[in-house]
Structures are given as structure tokens and as C-alpha cells.
């Protein structure tokens, strides 16, 4: 009974790292879960729509601590404060039913639900770690660097020929108005402004990827979404991993057009389908701008396979031509109903290891298509 009533101590806790160690393990498991969910994350709408700029909140399901618990959405809960029956305490806006939205996450009051926040960057890191341009070769004949000149600076000293008249007059006006009279007179040396240039060193790219997309009427919402999802990640992958890759965008239905990146991702079109038009456009662009001895060339085409039958032969020949010039040709077919596709049946006969194809039946297969096209050796793929 001689135990003292109390004691106070202050120990050195610096070696007590358990919390951090288990936190690390948790983080590691989150990463594993992301990796496992990559096929789903890659086709996650919120990422594609946010243009990859934002952090996306994704419930990483496998990290929930599952147990038997009540359904909070069907339960009455107790709260306190002013209010009468019928008053609204809060709104669960994430709760609208839709694809991929179960009765899981939400910010319902009183309930603690864990959602892993995943940055697009994190997803990219893991996704792109597996991807690369296949058969990439050094192209010795290329001129690596082009110099360019751009007028993009204004200075007080310079050559008279480069004088910037507008800014000089503005300076003069400013000075005069400081002295009380806003007028143009007595231009002094101090007022003079000169344009000056900068030499830009622009390394020439070694590779070009030609993105071709079918925008014909038969491409429905789903098909367009899948094709754009694929190209979305492809573009990000190329820009993240390679400094000097050019990307050419071609949209086609019965005829093909080279379009800007924005048009490529946003434009809707309709009409029939003649795939050879896109391939011929690609050949034309290669032959005029990207000689194969200086460029690694990668044409990639996405379609629903619904080609005009009479065009199949021409398409086949065009693809063979493209294969001669390319390091890899990728054909992706979005075919959710497993229809017999005219184009694929023709392409089946191509016996060239540079030709790669992928059939996408559901969104999550975009991931596999990316891995099929952009890996060192297709045979290594599972």
C-alpha cells in the first residue's frame, strides 16, 4: 500500500516508430490496390473528364476493413441542435446512382468512410512504368537540333532596325504625363525600346506517333469514349516519358483529315467508314514530313471495325505499306458485342510482328490495349 499516488516521467520516444511503420505498410497496400485497380482506374470517367489535372478520389475498396455492420443509409441517427421535423441537415451529392457508384462512399454525417485520394500522377507513375515505345531505334541520320529565332523580349538597348515603336511612344507618353502633360514630344534615348530575340534550340524529335480515330456514325458513345480514353493515356504517356515525340492526329469517316489535338478529342462526326482513307493520309504525312530513316514511326488506329466491305482490300494494302515504314502498327477494335468484324477478319492474315491488335469489349480493357501496343515485346505480355 506504499505505492505512490502518482508519478510523472518524460521518456525518449524517438525509437518508437510503430505508427509510422504500419502507416508505411498501409501506404504500400494502397499502392498495391491502385495497381490492382489500374484497369478500372484507367477508364475512370472522372479522370478523363478532369483532363488529368485534378486529384481524383477513388474508393480503394480492398483497403476497407470489412466487417458485419449496419447500413447507415437505412438507419435513424441521433443529432442535436435547433431544428424541427423536416429540416435538412445535409446533402449527399455524391450519392446519385450511376455506373460504378455503389452504396459505398459518401459524406454522410456520423459515418467514417475511407477513400484513398489518388493523384493522376500516382496512377501515371504506375501505369507508365510498364509502357514504352516498342522497337525504338537510334536514327543516326537525323539532324538533332534546329535553331529557331523568336522575338519575345523588349530591352532598352538594341539595333535601330529592331526598334519597338509602340512601346517607345508609350514610354514617352508616360514620362510626359508624369511631368503633367500627356502628349508625345521630345522622344529621348531613355524612351527607346527595342525588340530583341532569343535563339531557341529545339531538339528534333526522333519519333512520331500517328493517332487515327474512326469518327463515323457507327461509333457510338461507348466506342468514342473508349477510343478517347486510350488516346488520352497514350498522349500523356508519350509526353511524360519521352521528351521529343511528335503526335499527329487524324480523324476519319469516309475521308480523313489531319486535326488538332483539341479537335481530335472533342469533335463528333458521322457518316460511313472507309478506313483506308486514314491509312493513306498517314502514308502521305509520313512521306512528306517523317522520312523513316530519321524517325521511329508508330501509327495507331482505333475503330469499331465496321468498315465498308469494298474498302477492306485497300485497307489491308495500305496497312502493309505503313508497316514497311513503321516500327509498330497498332490496331484497336472496340467491339463490345463480339460482332464479326469485317476489318479484323482481314487483318488476321497479317503475319508481321510489327502489327499489333487489341479487341476491347469493356472499358477496363483499355489498360490491356495500352500494354499490348506500348511494350517492348508483345510476347512478354500476359
Amino acid at each position: 500500500m506504499n505505492e505512490p499516488l502518482f508519478s510523472i516521467s518524460k521518456e525518449d520516444w524517438s525509437l518508437h516508430r510503430k505508427g509510422y511503420e504500419d502507416q508505411m505498410r498501409h501506404k504500400q497496400k494502397v499502392r498495391e490496390a491502385i495497381k490492382k485497380n489500374l484497369p478500372d482506374l484507367v477508364s475512370e470517367e472522372s479522370i478523363i473528364l478532369s483532363n488529368g489535372k485534378e486529384i481524383v478520389k477513388i474508393p480503394i475498396r480492398s483497403l476497407d476493413e470489412y466487417r458485419f455492420r449496419y447500413n447507415y443509409n437505412k438507419q435513424k441517427l441521433v443529432g442535436q441542435g435547433k431544428g424541427k421535423v423536416g429540416d435538412v441537415l445535409g446533402r449527399d451529392d455524391s450519392g446519385q446512382p450511376g455506373p460504378g457508384k455503389g452504396d459505398g462512399a459518401g459524406d454522410q454525417p456520423g459515418v467514417d468512410i475511407y477513400e484513398a485520394e489518388v493523384t493522376v500522377e500516382e496512377i501515371e507513375q504506375m501505369l507508365f512504368a510498364d509502357l514504352e515505345l516498342p522497337n525504338l531505334k537510334n536514327k543516326p541520320n537525323q539532324k538533332m537540333i534546329v535553331e529557331d529565332i523568336r522575338f519575345n523580349d523588349v530591352r532598352k538597348k538594341g539595333l535601330m532596325g529592331n526598334i519597338d515603336k509602340k512601346r517607345t511612344i508609350l514610354e514617352n507618353l508616360k514620362r510626359n504625363s508624369l511631368n503633367g502633360k500627356a502628349m508625345i514630344k521630345n522622344i529621348s534615348i531613355d524612351d527607346l525600346r527595342f525588340k530583341t530575340w532569343e535563339e531557341i534550340i529545339k531538339p528534333h524529335s526522333q519519333a512520331v506517333v500517328i493517332a487515327m480515330m474512326d469518327t463515323s456514325g457507327s461509333m457510338g458513345m461507348f466506342e468514342k469514349y473508349v477510343a478517347r480514353t486510350f488516346f488520352f493515356w497514350m498522349v500523356r504517356f508519350l509526353r511524360t516519358k519521352y521528351e521529343h515525340v511528335e503526335i499527329v492526329f487524324i480523324a476519319h469517316h469516309t475521308e480523313a483529315k489531319e486535326v488538332t489535338e483539341e479537335e481530335f478529342f472533342t469533335r463528333g462526326e458521322s457518316g460511313g467508314t472507309i478506313c483506308s482513307s486514314a491509312y493513306r493520309k498517314a502514308l502521305e504525312i509520313i512521306d512528306s514530313r517523317y522520312p523513316p530513316d530519321r524517325f521511329n514511326i508508330y501509327p495507331v488506329h482505333f475503330s469499331d471495325g465496321d468498315n465498308l466491305t469494298s474498302d477492306n482490300e485497300r485497307s489491308l494494302n495500305a496497312v502493309k505499306e505503313l508497316l514497311k515504314r513503321s516500327n509498330m502498327f497498332g490496331y484497336g477494335e472496340i467491339n463490345s458485342y463480339n460482332r464479326h468484324s469485317t476489318l479484323m477478319s482481314v487483318f488476321k492474315n497479317i503475319k508481321d510482328e510489327k502489327f499489333r491488335s487489341a479487341v476491347i469489349r469493356e472499358k477496363s480493357e483499355v489498360y490491356q490495349a495500352l500494354r499490348t501496343f506500348f511494350s517492348k515485346n508483345e510476347a512478354n505480355q500476359d
Binding site: K18, N71, Y72, G79, G81, D92, Q96
Partner: protein, 469 residues
């Protein structure tokens, strides 16, 4: 060092005041810790607990909230003898005074409330030994294997039987069989007779024999005893997890009372102390933050202190009727609340002492999800009280029992949810059953109700099936 001296003086003073009030705490060990240590203990529930990623997840979230200034734990107190209290480094003296008074009342509660009477007061050491054992299993069988098993075990850890009277499985197959079999006179060779009898009985299947004979609440213990696939080390882990759950259980069941009791006394004790003006203001602020009500949940500190204060008031000044009907004498308030802290838990506390006036004064209400809005649906005091009680039944966890451990005579496990008006989260059911399967090794079933219809979920190792009964 001066700070420590001052704190020491303050604690001595608080101890004296507390004793004067009749509080009866365990001896205290105060430890001053940096935030990450406090948050580690908070996440694990104990400084010496075993490692698991789920604790890391909790730690991360708590620590993040602290770093962002969103929440702060000032103290943690452990139910043990002596008790440990961990004070956050950097607390001001007045913060520490409040906390010391608060934790003293907590350990008084630990020591004197009936529901804590069976708790292991050496749990700090026990958990440390558990952590060590689990760590050794990791070395022996591999970290992933052990983690995998812990994931499954933790998914059913709440399903124990915490009743004070029967700590073990409530039946004994041997015993039940003995009753059926003719009794034999005790002889020195009894053991041999027994061997003989057992053998016979295995050969002749008995109609009434069912495992378990009555629905069994302690799922964890049942699996630990009867699962055909567990290895020794796995059973060992289940035993240890169950011990830890039983240790935490009274805290789950007395949250409102315990926090109310501690808040009641820190207020009383600090009023007895000689505080400077500055300290008085800071104390008022701190106290207000602690008992702040919430629109969407019940603050146990607030509800608890309100009830204790109300009980004291009512027993100090009983109405004429109460004096006549119950023979209540005035001035019994203090005595009454000490009695309440000894014999009640939250369920009975609310049932017996929450009044219409309390509900009105605290402005309690029930709310519910309608569409995607959370709407106030009820202000009737009895319904509110019943909901508060309901939420504490079985510690707030669904009540699930083992109906049959040999379902379809095939060794399958049949669980039943004792449905009392609140449905289970179906997605969670479907994700938890595979864990139970992992522990049982054969098909597992769970019967529950959806939309008032009985439904059976089954998992056979590959897929969850759902069937209306």
C-alpha cells in the same frame, strides 16, 4: 524542469481535492509524450499493441488531422493498475490540470464500475506479450501469411460474448452427451470407460446432437474451438485478439457514462482550485470545446455530463411525489451518482435516467437519409431515447450468432443476424463472408433480413450467392 515541478504540485492538489470528493482512482503514471506517440497510442488503443496496417491507417488519419489543426487529443488513459495517462507534450499547465482531473475520474470509473470488474489490469504487459508472439509468428510463417490471417480475424473481432457470468462457450459437448448416456458409477478406471463410450457414440449418430446446441454468440471463440482448418498459431492469435476485445468491451459499453463522469469531475475539481483569471478563461474555452454538441452525432461528453448533473439535481431535490412514492430523501444527489457510476452501463444509464426534459433541453432529434438528403424525422423523446439505447445494443455492432456449425451435415457454418429493425450493409456482408470462409474452411452462410424478407447469403470459396428464404 520548472514546468514539471509545477505540474507535480498541481497533480498533488488535484489528487487531494478528488479524494475529498470521494473519488477512488488507481495510482497514476503520467507520461509526457510528443504528438506522434500520443496518436500512435490513440490509433492502437494501447501503447504496446501488435502491428497491423489498419492501425497505421488510423494513425495516419489522426496524425494528419492533428497536423492540419483539425483535431487534437490532449490525453489518453489506460485502464490498468496502476493506470497510465499520456499527456501531450506542449500542453499548457491549465490544459494539464483539466486533463489530470479528467483522467482521475476515468480511472475511478475503471476501478469501480461493475462492467470493468473482470478486465485484465495487466493488459499493458499482456498486449506487449501478444505483440511479441505475433511478431514471432511473422518470422516463422512470413509477414504476408500472418497479415492475411489477421485481416480475416479482425473482420469478426467484435463478435465475442462479453457477458460477465459465462466467459467461455456456454455448452460442452461432452457434458451434453453425458446426460444422454447412462451414468456409470465412478471407478478408478473411469477414464477407460469414457474412452469406450466415446467410441460407441461416434458410431451411432445421435439425432439431437447439434453444434452448437443453442445459438452461440461468441463467433470468435466458436471458430477458434471448432474450425477444422486452423493451425495452432492461428488459434493462438484468435485467443489473443479475443482477450483484447474483451478488455476493450466495457469501454465501448460505457462510453457516454465514462466521458460524462470524467467531464463532470474535471469541472467540479477545477472549480475548487485557485485559478488565475487567465486560467479561468482558458479553462472555460477548453471545457466548451469538449462538451460541444454536434448536429449529426452524439457527443458522449455532452450527453454524459448533462445526465449526471441532472441525476444529481433530481436526487438532491426530489418532488413531493418522488419522496412519497420512492421514499427519496433530499440531498442524496452525490450519493446517487456514485451508485450510478458503479452499477450502470450506457444502455441502462439512458433507459433509467434520460428524461423527456433532458431530451427537450438538449434539443435532441432523430434524422435519416431521404433520397440524398439528411432530414430531421422525429422529435418524440421516447423514440429518441429508444434509438440511443438501440445504438448501444451489443456495443453498436450487429448481433450475430452461430446457428449451426455442421450445416447440411457438411461442416458448413450457418450464421444468423438477430435482426431488430436495422439492415446490414450488404456490400460489407459480401466482403466479410470470404474472411469467415478463410477462417472456417468450408461454405459459410449468413441469414439476415432485407426489406422485411429473410435472405441467406452464402460464400462457397468462389462466389457470394444470395437467396430469399
Amino acid at each position: 524542469m520548472d514546468d514539471l515541478k509545477e505540474l507535480e504540485r498541481a497533480i498533488a492538489e488535484i489528487n487531494e481535492i478528488a479524494q475529498g470528493f470521494g473519488l477512488d482512482p488507481f495510482p497514476m503514471r503520467y507520461e509526457i509524450c510528443p504528438p506522434d506517440i500520443i496518436y500512435t497510442f490513440g490509433a492502437y488503443g494501447m501503447p504496446t499493441r501488435f502491428s497491423h496496417w489498419s492501425f497505421g491507417k488510423a494513425f495516419h488519419r489522426m496524425k494528419l488531422q492533428y497536423d492540419l489543426g483539425l483535431s487534437k487529443i490532449y490525453e489518453l488513459v489506460i485502464n490498468s493498475n496502476p493506470s497510465y495517462a499520456f499527456l501531450l507534450e506542449g500542453n499548457s499547465l491549465i490544459q494539464n490540470k483539466l486533463i489530470v482531473a479528467h483522467v482521475l475520474a476515468h480511472t475511478d470509473f475503471f476501478k469501480n464500475n461493475a462492467y470493468f470488474s473482470k478486465t485484465n489490469r495487466d493488459m499493458v504487459e499482456s498486449m506487449s506479450a501478444t505483440a511479441e508472439r505475433i511478431h514471432n509468428y511473422e518470422i516463422q510463417y512470413g509477414k504476408d501469411v500472418v497479415e492475411n490471417f489477421l485481416d480475416a480475424a479482425l473482420s469478426i473481432q467484435e463478435h465475442v460474448d462479453p457477458s460477465l457470468v459465462v466467459p467461455k462457450l456456454r455448452y460442452d459437448l461432452q457434458e451434453e452427451e453425458v446426460e444422454v448416456a447412462p451414468k456409470k458409477p465412478p471407478t478408478p478406471y473411469d477414464d477407460l470407460w469414457k474412452l469406450d463410450r466415446n467410441e460407441k457414440e461416434i458410431k451411432t449418430p445421435q439425432k439431437e446432437r447439434k453444434l452448437p446446441p443453442r445459438p452461440e454468440k461468441d463467433l470468435l471463440l466458436f471458430i477458434q474451438e471448432y474450425s477444422p482448418i486452423l493451425e495452432e498459431w492461428q488459434r493462438d492469435i484468435l485467443t489473443m485478439l479475443r482477450e483484447e476485445m474483451l478488455y476493450f468491451w466495457p469501454q465501448i459499453e460505457t462510453k457516454i457514462m465514462n466521458e460524462g463522469w470524467a467531464s463532470y469531475w474535471h469541472t467540479k475539481i477545477l472549480r475548487e482550485m485557485d485559478l488565475t483569471e487567465e486560467e479561468t478563461i482558458e479553462f472555460a474555452k477548453l471545457n466548451a470545446a469538449v462538451v460541444q454538441p454536434s448536429r449529426t452525432s452524439i457527443n458522449p461528453y455532452y450527453l454524459g455530463i448533462k445526465l449526471f448533473e441532472d441525476i444529481e439535481k433530481r436526487w438532491d431535490n426530489p418532488t413531493k411525489e418522488e419522496q412519497e412514492r420512492f421514499g427519496r430523501k433530499p440531498g442524496q444527489g452525490r450519493k446517487k451518482i456514485f451508485e450510478v457510476r458503479e452499477v450502470e452501463r450506457d444502455i441502462s444509464f439512458l433507459q433509467n435516467y434520460l428524461t423527456k426534459e433532458n431530451v427537450k433541453e438538449m434539443e435532441l432529434y432523430l434524422y435519416q437519409k431521404k433520397g440524398n438528403e439528411w432530414v430531421i424525422v422525429e422529435k418524440d423523446w421516447e423514440k429518441i431515447r429508444d434509438q440511443l439505447v438501440q445504438a448501444k445494443v451489443n456495443g453498436g455492432f450487429p448481433y450475430i450468432v452461430v446457428e449451426n456449425g455442421d450445416f447440411l451435415r457438411n461442416g458448413e457454418l450457418y450464421l444468423k443476424h438477430q435482426y431488430e429493425g436495422i439492415e446490414l450493409d450488404i456490400r460489407y456482408v459480401e466482403k466479410t463472408l470470404p474472411y469467415v470462409y478463410q477462417l472456417w474452411g468450408k461454405t459459410v452462410h449468413l441469414e439476415t433480413k432485407i426489406e422485411e424478407r429473410s435472405v441467406l447469403f452464402s460464400y462457397d470459396g468462389k462466389k457470394v450467392f444470395r437467396k430469399f428464404l
